[in-house]
Assembly symmetry: C2
Homo-oligomer: 375 residues x 2
């Protein structure tokens, strides 16, 4: 299948539009749409929030009668089912577009090719696969949940050059600089949920929320304070150590408290929900938790925790992505390590990753690694 040079440009624009929804669409995917008539852009739109119009609807509204005979570029296959909004494929047919180019199929079982089939049946030419890799990356959370039922797990680590997260006495504020910490706010803001442990919460009296004020200026401009979505916070609290006076509970937004027993932690605010783990091995419990989160429509989980929990997730093979911030310091081998793993005797046993992205924030580096074999 061949695409023209202009096709790439229009789809890139659709992807850029889609990204504007990254902070707010969860549990929906971020989708962008551009409608082009005789090489002129006549409509564009992106999905903002579940329950609000899809990208195609926004773009068709803007295009009006100019959609007739036009080409629609969409970053994800148009939907074919009646959800909170009517199917977009139907909207495109009704508007009289003559061609639809989708970056990729939607693996959502309610769509999964049905949208494209509906279009073709109506005589609309369809093509799939333009800038598919970028479209996959943009919605890797949603796509993993659709394909496996489990959320996409991103493990964040902030460390010194020599892989240390805190002094031996636990001081970790701040390993990284202000710019890197602002980037952490951006990453939290994009996540469906933030996962941590009561140990981490108690150590720093952490809020684990998104502080709009701390987002970079460029992000603030496109993401007004009043539209801020707080990710769901999920706290591993096996032994009921959380108490209602913690800063965590000052932000009035959903928290899942995950514990070992049915017994509910006491006196926690109304926005807390209990998830109790069945009596299984540690690894099986983590898999169970992820299944629960998938069923609760959580696409992506941003993990901030200590070496023990980080290691347990890696060992359970539940981490899809490592996000490593490296500060230009040395702390030496008595300081706290990054990740607790069982004793490995051979290098070949070491989990292998693939370097995906390198960014610099002032003197700090941000490295993104993905699982060597993508699911």
């Amino acid at each position: 299948m061949t695409f023209r040079q202009q096709d790439y440009q229009f789809m890139q624009l659709a992807l850029d539009l889609a990204k504007q929804g990254e902070f707010t669409t969860s549990p929906n995917p971020a989708v962008g749409c551009v409608i082009v008539n005789k090489d002129e852009i006549v409509g564009q739109g992106f999905h903002v929030k579940a329950g609000e119009p899809h990208a195609e609807v926004m773009a068709l509204r803007m295009a009006g009668h100019k959609a007739k005979g036009a080409t629609a570029y969409v970053t994800l296959e148009p939907c074919a089912h009646f959800g909170r909004t009517p199917p977009c494929a139907m909207g495109l047919i009704g508007a009289g577009v003559s061609r639809v180019i989708a970056a990729m199929q939607d693996p959502n079982p309610q769509v999964a090719g049905k949208g494209l089939a509906m279009l073709e049946k109506a005589g609309i030419a369809t093509q799939v696969g333009l800038l598919a890799e970028s479209a996959e990356w943009l919605n890797r959370g949603f796509l993993k949940r659709m394909r496996t039922g489990l959320p996409y797990v991103r493990l964040k680590m902030a460390m010194t050059i020599d892989g240390r997260t805190a002094t031996a006495t636990g001081e970790s504020k701040w390993i990284t600089g202000q710019q890197a910490r602002a980037d952490v706010q951006v990453e939290r803001a994009k996540a469906s949920a933030i996962l941590s442990t009561s140990q981490t919460v108690l150590m720093d009296n952490a809020q684990l929320n998104v502080r709009w004020q701390q987002l970079p200026e460029g992000v603030k401009q496109g993401y007004p304070d009043k539209t801020l979505r707080q990710p769901i916070r999920i706290i591993m609290d096996r032994h009921h150590q959380l108490s209602a006076d913690l800063a965590l509970f000052q932000t009035n937004s959903p928290i899942y408290v995950v514990s070992q027993t049915e017994k509910k932690s006491q006196n926690l605010p109304h926005f807390c929900q209990a998830i109790s783990l069945p009596a299984l091995s540690g690894t099986q419990q983590l898999v169970y938790l992820m299944e629960q989160l998938g069923q609760r429509q959580i696409n992506s989980v941003w993990v901030e925790a200590g070496a023990t929990f980080a290691g347990a997730l890696v060992e359970a093979d539940l981490v899809d992505e490592l996000i490593v911030y490296i500060a230009p310091k040395l702390l030496g081998d008595q300081a706290r390590g990054l990740c607790h793993l069982p004793h490995l005797t051979q290098l070949a046993q070491a989990p292998q990753w693939r370097l995906q992205e390198v960014k610099q924030f002032d003197q700090d580096l941000k490295l993104i690694y993905v699982k060597d074999k993508l699911c």
Copy 2:
């Protein structure tokens, strides 16, 4: 002082020429020269090796009578003293050049402004400071030795994402991939000397030499096998653990064996020289060693060693540069650490570095950090 656009281009060319000498000029600096007459390049040259002509001489030879009235671009102030070759300033005067632009002054006390003064006295216009930062970086070894008497120390570390250099049982072959290891060969080849410990030598039966075959193809083309210079190898052997049957001694090139006592290690080959450390503290002994190496005209030292020696050098504040190769693996916190430092209780005590360079070799990253305050 202002320079024209062309001046930058010609000086960049001179720097590129200088780099061709990087593998061979030690203990001399790498220097390049371009001679330009009416915006036409009439001569170019670089210094290859101590005892052979300086860059200016090579460029003047090529320019011949076209040097008259020309501008010479040199990456380091022309020398003013009779060494193994006559002073270059005199050569430039004799050839009748009318202007000399130097990237930087030569801090060598035998030059240090005298070259430029000699030119000016002969009526030649001089300018200094064009692309000075690049020229400084190129010869940071030579320049540190000239300014402080000590060599420039580059500490190499190869680690996993979580800062581990080997499994708990010591397996470290190979943390990084083939491309990163070829880059280590390039870095060894540029160094005046390679510094390690008998512990590291014994663990891997390491040769610590440059294997021409393992250099990248691009380097091999400009650096023929027969011109290969082996860096001096310096082995910390406090307790006389080296024995003559080690692979280290199969390469017939100078080795300094550094020990605690006057007693010479037995039966070592003729190309081994003993350096004995006086009875001082560990830190003072390392400073003493570096002074000795400076006196022996060693510009730059490439260190490959374990966490204990690496940490001792960092603690003694003798490391100018960290070169960190990061492989896309996790080994967990039971594996071997990067750098032994005394117990730090506060983050503010952690040595601070400045990120200088990021390069990718296949899936491995190479980070270069320099001391936060340059000497």
